[in-house]
């Protein structure tokens, strides 16, 4: 019975993958954003982003649960609009980019919810530490673009704790949690 279920699941995933379209994240046209915000002293927000990343996803509107995404982030490209702060963010105090030049997210499962919302579960690797995170995501839209291509866009948010990724929080207790905001637009391959 178990074997049969497994076989069925395998077959199902195989067919869904076969049906799903593959998309490349439009970093070329910069229609994708990996942004973060973190509390400043508990009084305000600091926003920043990663400028260089790449990735692709497969997605089929008929079988959301089979969607997959993989994202590679160049940690050196951290940009908080302040050269001195970015230098500090790249240092061993935070992102340790010399040792860990890449961060990544690889989805492991998708849990469809109501109103087109879904939970995107996956392994997030940052500062050499891999932890499971759940991204609360929604599809923003999909369709033909005016230039002969086909696009699908998603928006997701999640939060991570600095200590979970072996980053010592030197900014104060309010800054322990970093909120991530992901805007992903893919062009169908």
């Amino acid at each position: 019975m178990k074997k049969l279920l497994l076989a069925a699941a395998f077959a199902a995933s195989f067919t869904s993958v076969a049906n799903a379209a593959d998309y490349v994240i439009d970093t070329q046209g910069a229609h994708a954003f990996i942004q973060f915000k973190v509390s400043h002293l508990g009084y305000s927000w600091l926003h920043g982003r990663f400028n260089t990343f790449s990735g692709d996803f497969s997605y089929d509107s008929a079988n959301l649960a089979a969607a997959k995404i993989k994202l590679d982030i160049d940690t050196k490209s951290v940009d908080s609009n302040h050269a001195e702060r970015d230098k500090h963010l790249r240092s061993g105090d935070f992102l340790n980019v010399d040792k860990h030049p890449k961060a990544s997210f690889v989805s492991t499962k998708v849990v469809p919810g109501a109103d087109g919302k879904f939970d995107l579960v996956g392994n997030f690797t940052l500062n050499g530490v891999t932890k499971e995170v759940t991204i609360a995501a929604t599809k923003t839209g999909e369709g033909k673009d005016p230039w002969g291509g086909y696009r699908a866009g998603f928006h997701g948010t999640t939060s991570i704790k600095l200590s979970d990724f072996a980053i010592k929080n030197i900014l104060g207790p309010a800054s322990e949690t970093v909120y991530l905001d992901l805007v992903v637009e893919g062009v169908r391959k």
Partner: protein, 190 residues
């Protein structure tokens, strides 16, 4: 070439000692401030002052180079290899100062921001001239500063050696003393 002279101009002497105070202070503050806790009351103030005094030092260096141009300076004391080493060391210290100032400037201005000087005026920034500018300039700033300080120690040691071992006027002429010794041993060089 600089004019043949046996003494330093008082302006040069003043600048020398002012810089002798500021350079080690800037070095110490630079090392200390980069390790400050985010909630230290100096976390913001110390870098602001470091940069302001750094710009001031650049102006003093400029005055000093102008002073040398206008009034000349005595040739380095000593003879042979050591005398040549002194000439090289002096040139290196000037060169390192310029390089350290430049690298410091390149850290802070990599994002087009200017450098406020004591809240009085701002040195404009011109952004990134090369990739990873802030990081590369930052590493250069640190290592060049250590090199300069090593030379400064050598320089101070050499001055004391001239004073106490060679018993010549190398140190006293930088203190503004124009005694007999100042004009007697003519330097073989130049």
């Amino acid at each position: 070439m600089t004019t043949k002279t046996q003494h330093y101009h008082p302006l040069h002497i003043a600048l020398h000692w002012l810089m002798a105070l500021m350079i080690p202070a800037l070095f110490g503050v630079g090392l200390w401030m980069t390790g400050l806790d985010y909630y230290s009351s100096w976390y913001k103030t110390a870098p602001d002052l470091h940069k302001s005094f750094g710009i001031l030092l650049a102006l003093l260096l400029l005055f000093r180079l102008v002073a040398i141009r206008l009034f000349g300076k005595p040739a380095a004391s000593g003879a042979g290899v050591l005398q040549k080493a002194a000439v090289v060391a002096h040139a290196l210290m000037y060169g390192l100062l310029v390089a350290i100032m430049l690298s410091g400037y390149l850290i802070s201005t990599a994002d087009n921001r200017g450098i406020p000087v004591f809240g009085l005026f701002e040195v404009p920034g011109f952004g990134e001239f090369f990739p990873d500018q802030a990081d590369i300039a930052g590493a250069a700033h640190l290592y060049l500063a250590w090199t300069l300080i090593a030379l400064v120690v050598l320089h101070a040691g050499a001055a004391l050696k001239h004073h106490f071992v060679d018993k010549d006027n190398t140190l006293t002429r930088m203190l503004g003393r124009r005694n007999a010794a100042a004009s007697s041993p003519d330097n073989p060089e130049i």
